[in-house]
């Protein structure tokens, strides 16, 4: 395997003796999108800011594109979109993007980027008069205009309308297709589900789960299969026909629910059993766990402040 674009091992950061990042490790494979998920205060932004060279860790090692985060020669190779702010309020939208482009040897064309981000109409509007969504999009443009190898996006679609969110997603997908690695911090699980190759769920400064979206949503717990059929089918007989570890019930009469590791074999076994009983399985519905279910299971449902 080629060297990871980002390699974090045993990262620890303490504030006033309290570890906000506590022995955290993660890797970003080159050319992939990693989503960093976690409740507020989980340590996501601290982790990302250490990787960007803004903070020094108390322990552990961080290699960004094989370099130390503090290396000046790393700066052109990474793009950073912070959660908020980061632009001169008095500069116009296009001026701000051109300024950041002027720091790079081979920048993207700022005019083209403005158009793709839907900012042409406000190109001459001072940054402080842009709406929150427009500021977000400009900030995204500033992160990619220098044609970096690795991009950090901290909640890139917070406060965006659906059109702008899709434009952002398309940009992230295009970055990935063109071989740029992306670290995406987000609260939005559908965003992670759509964009991320790998997901790392962080809570209390630790990794509580990591893997691909498919791995996380299929891991361990079961899916549910609902169907309607003739009332009064023999459930014990059904369970005998299914793999071990499944459960079945009928409630109300004629409405069946099967719980178990949801895969094509289970589905086939249920429908075959119905057929052998000369019963029709209608309104078949498979409910798989979403990333949101996994996230809430891992981090609890209590609201963090």
């Amino acid at each position: 395997m080629t060297a990871p674009a980002l390699d974090v091992v045993g990262l620890v950061k303490r504030y006033a003796g309290r570890a906000v990042v506590d022995d955290l490790s993660l890797q970003v494979r080159p050319g992939t999108v990693l989503a960093l998920l976690g409740p507020n205060g989980a340590g996501k932004t601290t982790t990302v800011e250490i990787c960007q060279g803004f903070r020094t860790p108390d322990a552990g090692s961080v290699r960004v594109l094989g370099q130390s985060p503090r290396d000046a020669s790393l700066r052109p190779r990474i793009g950073v979109m912070p959660q908020t702010g980061g632009a001169y309020p008095g500069l116009r939208c296009a001026e701000m993007l051109r300024l950041v482009a002027s720091y790079a040897a081979n920048p993207l064309d700022p005019a083209d980027l403005l158009e793709r981000l839907g900012l042409v109409e406000v190109a001459r509007t001072p940054y402080r008069r842009l709406s929150g969504g427009q500021q977000q999009r400009l900030s995204l443009g500033m992160a990619v205009v220098g044609r970096p190898e690795l991009v950090f996006l901290d909640e890139p679609t917070a406060g965006l309308d659906p059109q702008a969110r899709h434009a952002t997603w398309e940009l992230v997908e295009a970055l990935r297709r063109d071989g740029v690695s992306v670290v995406l911090t987000t609260h939005l699980l559908d965003e992670a589900e759509r964009l991320a190759d790998d997901v790392v769920v962080v809570d209390h400064g630790r990794v509580v789960a990591a893997g691909t979206v498919a791995e996380l949503t299929s891991r361990g717990a079961s899916g549910q299969l609902r169907f309607r059929s003739t009332p009064g089918l023999d459930l014990d007989q059904l369970l005998n026909a299914l793999p071990a570890g499944c459960a079945a019930k009928e409630s109300p009469a004629g409405q069946y629910l099967v719980e178990g590791p949801m895969d094509p074999q289970l589905l086939a076994a249920v429908t075959a059993w119905c057929a052998s009983n000369d019963a029709m399985a209608a309104d078949l519905q498979i409910e798989r766990r979403s990333l949101e279910d996994v996230f809430l299971e891992l981090t609890g449902k209590r609201i963090r402040t």
């Binding site: 803004f54 990474i78 950073v80 702010g85 051109r98 297709r177």
Partner: protein
């Protein structure tokens, strides 16, 4: 919106040549200053208005010589202070608060280039101020003495001292606190710094007050422009000490966020 063509975003990292970054950053800094209404008020409108009023309305008596001869050097000192200290402190304070300086730290722009660009922008604004103030002064009958080089030495050292103080203030306090402190200090130094009347008017406090950067600059400029002194050493030394101390403190204490 059209789809991204394949390869349009392919990585091609690299930092621009330093002169290009410096030029772009300096132009941006200048735009920020000249577009900011309060900064223009502080740097240009107030010094110019003050000069005209002080010279033409005799409510502050002047001992000897022409009124313009006394007031032009003081207002020049005020102008340097307004730009290098007050304007820069407020600008830096808010740039920190808005996360601009932090974010620029994650770009290829080196911090040294950022600081040089800020200094160049200050010098350009000062050139504008000095040109306008001298033109108005001459129109009001100002009769300058001394050498341009002596004036230049004072202005450069004064700029260094005020920039150091401005970066120290703006680099350590929050935006609004900086705004309040910088404006208060501007007013205090306007009154106590020999701009409106010589520091000798404060009697026993003179030895202390004359060491203030504004007082040293206004006094030094008067020594040159009124009396034709070549090198007002005491004032140059005072400014040099302020410059070294404030820049050293700023480089130790400055916070980028």
């Amino acid at each position: 919106m059209t789809a991204w063509t394949r390869g349009a975003l392919a990585p091609a990292p690299g930092a621009a040549p330093l002169p290009r970054m410096l030029a772009a950053q300096t132009v941006a800094e200048l735009k920020l200053v000249l577009r900011n209404g309060e900064q223009v008020l502080l740097s240009l409108v107030i010094p110019l208005g003050l000069l005209v009023v002080l010279v033409t309305v005799p409510f502050i008596p002047v001992d000897e010589g022409g009124r313009a001869d006394f007031f032009v050097p003081g207002v020049l000192a005020l102008a340097v202070m307004s730009t290098a200290f007050t304007g820069q402190a407020i600008g830096v304070g808010f740039e920190r608060q808005y996360g601009v300086l932090k974010r620029l730290g994650a770009t290829p722009l080196p911090r040294s280039v950022l600081l040089v660009a800020k200094t160049l922008a200050v010098l350009v604004v000062e050139l504008l101020q000095v040109t306008l103030l001298c033109a108005v002064g001459l129109a009001l009958g100002w009769d300058p003495q001394g050498s341009v080089l002596s004036v230049l030495a004072l202005v450069v050292l004064g700029t260094a001292a005020f920039s150091g103080l401005g970066l120290l203030l703006g680099g350590t306090l929050r935006g609004l606190t900086t705004l309040a402190a910088a404006n208060l200090l501007w007013f205090v130094l306007l009154v106590l710094g020999g701009v409106l009347f010589p520091v000798s008017a404060f009697g026993a406090a003179e030895p202390i007050l004359s060491l203030l950067p504004t007082a040293a600059l206004s006094h030094g400029l008067r020594e040159v422009l009124v009396d034709g002194a070549l090198l007002p050493l005491r004032d140059l030394a005072a400014l040099a000490v302020w410059a070294v101390a404030s820049l050293a403190a700023a480089s130790r204490l400055f916070r980028w966020e």
